[in-house]
């Protein structure tokens, strides 16, 4: 029996900021990180020097790490972490920052994820993403994650009878949410017919199953609840958080993620059940992964994802609000910032900053992370339950 982990009680997340996304940028990642930090300072009213903890997540920062960022931006934090775990970086940054403020290692931690996107940088990132990708996946068609998730999607469809229309529902509802998010790169609504008629990319993956790589940044602050109150910052509270890496490694193809392993503990920490969750921000690199998360986080049984999405509307005002910002599928994937998108959106929903896409009376939401396709699946999974402070 392992020791029960300490609770995340008393940890607040606040000041969600987004540096507007652009398809391509000639700037470096440092520029986007700088913009994000400036936005955090402005929105919080804190002096730059009062931010004494920093986490940085980025793919395009190399050869710099979080260390180089401190000098570049003139920061002198007493606690620093570099969390280059892509889609899982939001959850993982929050978990680490939460422990740092609980322990008193830092008072205010800025969690920043930013990436630039030059015209050829996506190809270059893919080819050198990991040793395993270089040796065992990139030489096979160089489709990047598209072909990996095509296998996962094809296998899921064959095993559980899911159809393209089922995945289409997820994409279409997210696009509907994105119409109310001024930062979304996709400005036009998407119909199920358009989704179905899209060109194949790596079948059964078609165009609207894929995210658009872009440049941008997302960031938020983590501090103790009292500090947020002192500063008068609208904030949400961390109710529970989990992460897991390389779960179910013996499954020959991914049909479940690490969330399944730790979800009972997550809900126990939050003293909640799936039925209590009012909205979810799932990591949506591909719709099949959204469906896996509905199952693995206990909203339906394994294989029940298709029936679940048919039974629900996933818009912000629907019966099961999912990715109320529009998600990466409709907002864009600004590299590692894609792993923060759900976090900033959840904080906005719980602090009354979600504007016309607000989930009504939102008190409890779930944010997930999923990152790092080093070979044939994503290795990092994580989830956080956030609650409103009232």
């Amino acid at each position: 029996m392992t020791n029960r982990r300490s609770s995340y009680e008393g940890v607040a997340v606040a000041v969600p900021v987004t540096v507007p996304y652009v398809r391509y940028s000639t700037r470096n990642a440092h520029w986007f990180i700088g913009q994000a930090l400036q936005a955090l300072v402005k929105a919080s009213g804190l002096a730059k020097e009062q931010i004494d903890g920093l986490t940085v997540s980025s793919f395009s920062l190399s050869p710099d790490t979080a260390v180089g960022v401190t000098q570049h931006l003139g920061l002198s934090p007493r606690w620093l972490d570099h969390i280059p775990t892509g889609g899982a970086s939001g959850v993982m940054s929050l978990r680490r920052a939460a422990r740092a403020v609980q322990a008193g290692d830092a008072e205010v931690v800025a969690c920043v994820a930013a990436d630039t996107n030059h015209v050829d940088s996506f190809r270059l990132t893919l080819g050198s993403f990991s040793h395993f990708a270089r040796d065992a996946s990139y030489p096979y068609g160089s489709g990047g994650p598209n072909s990996i998730f095509a296998f996962i999607t094809a296998n899921y469809m064959r095993t559980f009878g899911a159809t393209r229309e089922d995945f289409g529902r997820i994409a279409v509802d997210q696009r509907s949410n994105a119409m109310k998010n001024p930062n979304a790169l996709f400005k036009r609504p998407l119909t199920l017919d358009e989704y179905m008629a899209a060109r194949p990319i790596s079948d059964p993956i078609h165009l609207f199953d894929c995210v658009m790589p872009c440049a941008g940044a997302e960031a938020f602050l983590v501090m103790r609840e009292e500090r947020a109150r002192e500063l008068g910052l609208p904030h949400a509270l961390v109710r529970g958080a989990i992460e897991r890496h390389n779960a179910y490694a013996d499954d020959p193809v991914m049909v479940r993620g690490g969330w399944r392993m730790d979800r009972d503990e997550l809900y126990a920490q939050a003293c909640a059940t799936p039925a209590d969750i009012q909205f979810v921000q799932t990591y949506d690199d591909y719709p099949v992964i959204v469906m896996l998360q509905f199952e693995d986080l206990g909203f339906c049984d394994k294989g029940g994802g298709s029936a679940f999405v048919r039974a629900h509307t996933m818009t912000h005002d629907g019966s099961f609000p999912n990715n109320t910002s529009g998600g990466q599928l409709s907002v864009g994937q600004a590299g590692a910032a894609g792993g923060f998108l759900g976090m900033t959106e959840a904080i906005r929903q719980l602090t009354g900053q979600a504007g016309e896409r607000a989930v009504r009376d939102a008190k409890l939401g779930l944010v997930t992370g999923f990152g790092m396709v080093t070979y044939d699946r994503c290795l990092c999974t994580g989830a956080v339950i956030l609650g409103s402070s009232s």
Binding site: G127, A150, S202
Partner: protein, 417 residues
């Protein structure tokens, strides 16, 4: 069923010849172990010496027991297809130019799941599939999912044809048609469907047995070629260099002497002049033309074959100067391979044991028959193999050399073969 490849139409000389973009070639040092096996036609994965777990992708420590004792071991390749996809988009120029491209995810019976290029005869998942390793156009090992039983024309599969150097419909230069080996190579190429076989002959006045049988084949065209003469090589390259898809350099001089048995260096020079400098002259003249046509349609320039000798690995004192010339040629062939690799031209080195010809008259059997060398070369071109050791003697020498080169040196010095 693979549709048989049709003979391509004559090339439109006005159009620009498409240039080669290699598939991704970067691999880590450990992963090159798979390439080393595939270069000889084997599919090997790392197997843990301590717990027997099979590893993939290649790695530094056992994923089950953390042992560092991972050994490359031959695999049957039996597996089950879990999923397929057809790529319609790629981030890499090589694949972009060849879309759509089909891939599969296979669970090997040995354990790991592997991503493979999928042969067209493999159906949809779930299906039994046989995984093999092949060198791709970058010269690096890739895994391919084959059907359990292939049909007659399976070699014509579009994806497979990109990996191999099949002589079918290709134009080939064989540098010496006068020898028994040369004639056997010509016969084998014609049988394999070569479109044109240019056959070099250095001394047209010599009438040698069997030569007429070769020259009367409709696919064969005799061309004057003397590898000791730079101008001869240059003239022929000017004439056919832009059309040759495969060069097979089998010309050699072989005399059976060591150092003390003969005075002077004339014979040794003659051996070097053909076996080493001949290759150099040929490569300088034909290499650039081959490199320029390595993406030129389904019959693109594909390969360069060197007839070396197993004596290139370790000197066989009774044939000491010949061994030295072949060792020099082997070293130069490695240079040629490095220079041809960026264009995707495969350099195939053939290391036969003693050939059953007049210069090995005094050697006891087993000796490798010319026809066996010829069929080994055609097989290597079809399978995309780059190092070939045809015959029992070559295989045994290779094993002994790999086991301990110093022990082999002592054995050869003692006249023990």
């Amino acid at each position: 069923m693979t549709m048989p490849l049709m003979k391509p139409k004559r090339k439109n000389p006005v159009l620009r010849t498409r240039q080669m973009n290699l598939p991704p070639w970067a691999r880590g040092r450990v992963a090159l172990g798979m390439t080393a096996a595939a270069a000889e036609g084997r599919f090997e994965l790392q197997v843990c010496k301590d717990c027997s777990a099979v590893q993939y992708p290649p790695r530094e420590a056992c994923h089950r027991c953390l042992s560092a004792r991972l050994q490359w071991r031959a695999q049957s390749g039996e597996g089950t297809l879990l999923g397929t996809t057809t790529l319609h988009h790629s981030n890499d120029p090589f694949f972009r130019e060849r879309l759509p491209w089909r891939l599969g995810l296979v669970q090997l019976a040995a354990g790991p799941s592997v991503i493979v290029h999928l042969h067209g005869e493999v159906g949809e998942a779930p299906a039994p599939v046989k995984v093999g390793a092949r060198l791709d156009r970058a010269g690096q090992a890739v895994l391919i999912g084959f059907p359990s039983e292939g049909s007659e024309h399976m070699a014509d599969d579009k994806m497979l044809r990109e990996m191999t150097s099949d002589p079918k419909f290709r134009k080939v230069l064989v540098t010496d048609g006068k020898t028994a080996v040369g004639q056997a190579i010509v016969q084998a190429l014609v049988k394999a469907g070569a479109d044109i076989v240019w056959v070099g002959h250095a001394e047209p006045w010599k009438k040698l047995p069997g030569f007429d049988d070769v020259t009367k084949l409709p696919q064969v065209t005799l061309v004057p070629l003397d590898l000791t003469n730079g101008r001869s090589v240059s003239e022929l390259a000017g004439e056919i260099g832009g059309k040759v898809d495969i060069v097979i350099n089998n010309a050699e001089v072989h005399r059976a002497f060591g150092i003390a048995a003969r005075r002077g260096t004339d014979v040794a020079k003659a051996e070097m002049d053909i076996n080493y400098f001949g290759l150099l002259r040929l490569a300088q003249e034909f290499g650039p033309a081959l490199r320029g046509r390595s993406a030129d349609g389904v019959t693109h320039a594909a390969a360069w074959v060197n007839l070396l000798s197993i004596y290139a690995l370790a000197n066989y004192p009774p044939h000491g100067t010949f061994s030295a010339s072949k060792a020099a040629a082997y070293s130069l062939a490695q240079c040629l391979r490095a220079e041809m690799r960026p264009a995707g031209i495969r350099v195939v080195n053939v290391f036969p044991g003693p050939i059953d010809d007049e210069w090995n008259q005094n050697l006891p059997p087993p000796k490798v028959a010319p026809a066996a060398i010829a069929s080994a070369i055609v097989k290597a071109l079809r399978d995309g193999v780059e190092d070939v050791y045809p015959g029992d003697v070559a295989q045994e020498w290779l094993e002994r050399w790999r086991d301990n080169p110093k022990v082999l040196e002592r054995e050869l010095a003692a006249g023990l073969t």
